[in-house]
């Protein structure tokens, strides 16, 4: 069964704008991860945030985690056309990983 649910399902923005994607989940987790998938490719790991962390940065990516609300957000700043992809959150409970349905991000040049 799916654990994470991303919101929105699809997002279209102009290059240079920021993109925010949200993920909600239902049970306690060990960590939450965000992945990116380009069309026709495998998923690529972007960032992992542990359950005792609240915020994490990696380049233009910023991830927050609110365990009381069971939610996470992924912010991509200064977006580029090359950021166009699907973004998935995945919740890890012990060694069981559950993925959401993904947010399809389109960045227009």
């Amino acid at each position: 069964s799916q654990q994470g649910e991303e919101d929105p399902q699809a997002l279209s923005i102009q290059e240079g704008e920021n993109a925010t994607m949200n993920c909600s989940y239902k049970t306690s987790i060990n960590n939450l991860q965000w992945y990116r998938q380009n069309s026709g490719r495998g998923l690529v790991h972007l960032i992992l945030i542990r359950s005792n962390e609240r915020e994490k940065h990696s380049g233009r990516l910023r991830v927050t985690l609110d365990t009381s609300k069971k939610s996470s957000s992924l912010l991509i700043t200064a977006s580029r056309a090359a950021d166009t992809a699907s973004y998935f959150c995945a919740t890890a409970i012990n060694n069981d990983m559950r993925f959401g349905a993904g947010t399809r991000l389109t960045v227009k040049p």
């Binding site: 799916q2 960590n31 991860q33 495998g42 998923l43 992992l48 060694n95 069981d96 990983m97 993904g102």
Partner: protein
């Protein structure tokens, strides 16, 4: 260097056939996975396997069976293929760790059952 590789990339076959998809990882990981991604892009775990334990998602039909000749390989064998098996299948690997278990994915195998 390819970290997680899968073969074949595309597989077209008739209903009722038996087929296998191969997966190899050269990352030294101890855990490997198979996922199914349907046309709506839902990614569902089918199996996770390390040298101690095979965990099967209870919704996976027993026509699907993972076979691991060694730690670096986890192949997926499918018997009596059905139309609904058409999907993209991804192999992945990771360390067995609750805190740092980011997964590395293969490029996927697109299976089409006619």
């Amino acid at each position: 260097d390819t970290a997680v590789s899968q073969t074949p990339k595309y597989l077209v076959t008739q209903m009722g056939n038996d087929k296998s998809i191969k997966c190899e990882q050269n990352l030294g990981h101890d855990t490997m996975y198979w996922y199914k991604q349907d046309s709506k892009k839902f990614l569902k775990i089918m199996f996770s396997y390390n040298n101690k334990e095979l965990i099967i998602n209870e919704t996976v039909p027993n026509r699907f069976s993972p076979k691991s000749p060694d730690k670096a390989h986890l192949n997926l064998h499918i018997n009596s293929l059905e139309l609904g098996d058409s999907a993209v299948y991804f192999c992945a690997s990771s360390h067995l760790s609750v805190s740092s278990n980011e997964q590395f994915f293969g490029p996927g195998t697109r299976l089409t059952v006619l």
